[in-house]
Amino acid sequence: MKIKLETGALRQSTWHEYVLRFAFGGTVTALAGIIAKRFGPEIGGLFLAFPAILPASATLIEKHERQKKERNGMQGAERGRKAAGVDAIGASMGAIGLAAFAFVVWRRLPESGTGMALAGATVAWFLTSVSIWKIREVLCRRVRRMVASNHRSATAQLHKPLMKGRSDEQERAEK
């Protein structure tokens, strides 16, 4: 599947949805700091990967997808839920990249500059996430192709006696 940049998607979001995301992000960042202060960096660190934004984004994706379908006069609930599910599966791959980010910061930060360590870790997140996504895409495509070819050969096997019977009948008719 080709990766595309669609600016039209920006028109689907309203200003209060952007404000909501900003508020969520700010609150989670502040909470992560407060938890680290109260319980120490060992516990506080866990909350740097807390999925606080995901329920809000999944709800927004479901809403946008449902509205899009309903505008075309179709039922959009199922489609909306599935779109949010696909997004969440993507986030699960991105979270493995997040572990790579954390690993790079843990190992590199004490020895190198903060900017360099964080930039390197962000690159590690991006490369790991995209690689996992790409591998999954290739595997899924292969499985789909295999299922399709199995289906084709099964259908051909099923129709073989029917076709043979028909040609026998044709032969008899010709005689």
Binding site: E6, G25, T29, P41, A49, A88, I96, L98, A99, A102
Partner: protein, 108 residues
């Protein structure tokens, strides 16, 4: 300060996710290191590199729990007819269980 920086970084990554297609690729940005970038940069300046590095070590476990959480939410939404907000919010308990369980088992 934390609220403004965190809100801004999270919004930028969320915006990127909105712009990209297909949905599974855009989803990668749902697990972008937005909160971590904002927090770690501020933590280094306030508490030092060692403190931030310790936070990052625990974050690895949090990220593993995140991956499991997002996978379960994704499967619930695709395979079962569970409403989005309910499945995504209820599964947060899975993140807590997994993150603290792993932390006790590995780092404590």
């Amino acid at each position: 300060m934390r609220i403004v920086v965190g809100g801004a970084v999270v919004s930028v990554f969320a915006l990127l996710g909105d712009l990209l297609k297909p949905k599974s690729f855009a989803g990668l940005f749902g697990a972008a290191p937005s909160v971590a970038l904002a927090t770690l940069a501020l933590t280094v300046s306030k508490d030092g590199k060692e403190y931030a590095s310790t936070e990052a070590r625990s974050m690895i476990i949090g990220a593993v729990a995140f991956s499991l959480y997002a996978f379960v939410v994704g499967r619930l939404l695709i395979r079962r007819r569970v409403p989005v907000l309910i499945s995504a919010s209820a599964a947060i308990t899975l993140w807590f269980g997994c993150a603290f369980g792993l932390w006790f088992a590995v780092l404590r």
